[in-house]
């Protein structure tokens, strides 16, 4: 049997985390290629429905990444993101989906290292959890 290779969707905000991801690339940092990055203008734009839909469509994990609190380019979008993720985690618990499949991280434009290590860590964790049951109907 081939090793389980998770599929992870990452929503990265345009102003910090996406630039952080870019920096990881231009600095030639190594991180697993399990991640599919979607650029959004702000983490506050990521509705709970986007995350659940990604899981429904078979993503094994979802990462939401935005600017550090206080640094959001739309003032408080990341606070909204935090609330939204919390709401979704409550729903996921009721649905019996493992909340560890969803992660919220603050990654600034200069934190290429943090981006790479976050992805590495997340991929390891998801590997332990195994495939998302919604993806294997």
């Amino acid at each position: 049997m081939t090793e389980f290779s998770p599929r992870i969707v990452a929503f990265c905000c345009n102003w910090c985390s996406y630039v952080g991801a870019d920096l990881a690339g231009t600095s030639r940092l190594k991180y697993p290629d399990n991640i599919r990055i979607m650029r959004v203008m702000c983490s506050g734009q990521v509705f709970p429905s986007y995350i659940l839909k990604a899981l429904e469509l078979g993503a094994d994990g979802v990462l939401v990444a935005g600017c550090h609190i206080g640094d959001c380019h739309y003032v408080s979008g990341n606070k909204k993101a935090q609330e939204r993720v919390e709401t979704l985690l409550r729903v996921m618990k009721t649905l019996g989906l493992d909340p560890r499949r969803v992660r919220l991280e603050w990654i600034s434009a200069s934190e290429g290292m943090k981006f790479a290590s976050t992805v590495k860590e997340f991929v390891e964790e998801i590997k332990e959890l195994g495939p998302n049951l919604l993806g294997v109907r």
Partner: protein, 377 residues
């Protein structure tokens, strides 16, 4: 489309416009006209209807159905057209970004193990097998999403308390799934059927011969839309308002006076299922009932159905209805549908376009009100 037209008798339409005249959406949205939709269908414009965003605006509230002189079943027609649109790749403009539909679809996976019974506190008696099953519906999820301004699970607790009071320890199953109402009414028939099959399995395993629901949509769905799946079984399905009113009639419970109340007929309970009297009897046994101008068959909808299309116009309908409720002078607006409750509360939760005094009337679920009024509690 021809079949849908035939099944819903749309070809009898004489373009009288009674539907548009009685439609709560048409009143606030100039672009919406049930008459025009039927007219288009009759001239074969399938693509135009499927692609029209207004297809998802209808509340399927059946206000027009009760008025139509040609007995066209318009909301059934909309349901049929939505399923055909869904199959062509169109989807509803969902409120909450589609989150609720997503939650409902996830429940159609056989292997998920939900944690939906967290609300059962020690003072409530429930069973795993038995004659009566309480179908809780989406209440645990509503609590997850809307606890900022409503307590949906209080409805579940009140229901069980009242059942306990009548000596019943109902089955409440962790394996229950969403009844599928919203998906069925937004065109996703396939997932609806999956949910239905899983629920039927769960119900059969419980050994129940009677199901109580606290949601009119579950009631309608289990009673009418599950009929084919239930074939060959003899299961009675009742709404909690019918159950409480029979308890009162038999003197099994007594309710204390709880004030002056006005009542919102939920579309599914009223026009869809014809249940108008039971909730009113419950109200009369715990207080005085003052009717709004529009009541019973004439009642206006709470503005959103099946989590399809929540927009400015929905809020207008809600505010209008709340003003009407407030002007009756009642102490509270009672409804017997969790969604009516959520929609009305949501409408006044943030900014409102009118003075607050005009709409500030508490909205209370019938079962919760009855449970609070239980004598000797």
């Amino acid at each position: 489309m021809k079949q849908i037209i035939k099944r819903t008798k749309a070809y009898y339409c004489v373009e009288c416009g009674k539907c548009s005249g009685s439609c709560p959406v048409a009143r606030v949205n100039e672009g919406f006209s049930p008459r025009v939709i039927v007219e288009r269908a009759l001239s074969g414009m399938k693509g135009e209807i499927e692609g029209d965003r207004e297809l998802w605006t209808c509340l399927t509230c059946e206000a027009c159905t009760t008025k139509c002189p040609s007995t066209v079943k318009f909301s059934e027609f909309i349901r049929g057209m939505r399923s055909s649109a869904f199959n062509s790749g169109y989807t509803s403009r969902c409120s909450q970004g589609g989150l609720l539909h997503s939650i409902q679809r996830v429940q159609s996976y056989r292997d998920i193990v939900q944690n939906r019974l967290q609300w059962i506190s020690d003072d409530l008696k429930t069973s795993t097998e038995g004659e009566v099953l309480y179908f809780t519906g989406c209440l645990p999820y509503f609590e997850n999403l809307f606890s900022g301004f409503v307590n949906p699970l209080e409805i579940a607790r009140s229901t069980v308390k009242i059942l306990n009071k009548a000596g019943i320890s109902p089955v409440v199953s962790p394996n229950e799934r969403c009844c599928g109402h919203d998906l069925l009414w937004t065109g996703n028939v396939e997932t609806f059927q999956k949910l239905a099959r899983l629920n039927i399995e769960m119900i059969k395993e419980s050994g129940a011969s009677r199901i109580v629901t606290s949601c009119p949509e579950c009631l309608r769905t289990l009673k009418l839309d599950y009929a084919d799946f239930f074939e060959g079984t003899d299961i009675e399905i009742v709404h909690i308002s019918e159950f409480i009113s029979s308890l009162i009639k038999n003197n099994d419970i007594k309710l204390n006076r709880a004030g002056i109340m006005t009542y919102q007929d939920p579309c599914r309970l009223g026009r869809h299922m014809g249940i108008y009297d039971a909730p009113r009897e419950v109200i009369k046994s715990m207080g005085e009932l003052v009717e709004m101008n529009k009541n019973r068959e004439e009642s206006s909808c709470c503005g959103v159905s099946a989590w399809a299309t929540c927009e400015g116009n929905s809020k207008l309908m809600q505010i209008e209805r709340l003003i009407e409720a407030k002007s009756t002078g009642a102490d509270m607006l009672v409804t017997s549908c969790p969604k009516c409750l959520i929609h009305f509360r949501c409408a006044v939760h943030n900014q409102i376009p009118v003075e607050k005094e005009k709409v500030d009337i508490p909205v209370v679920d019938l079962t919760v009100a009855a449970c609070r009024a239980l004598a000797g509690e």
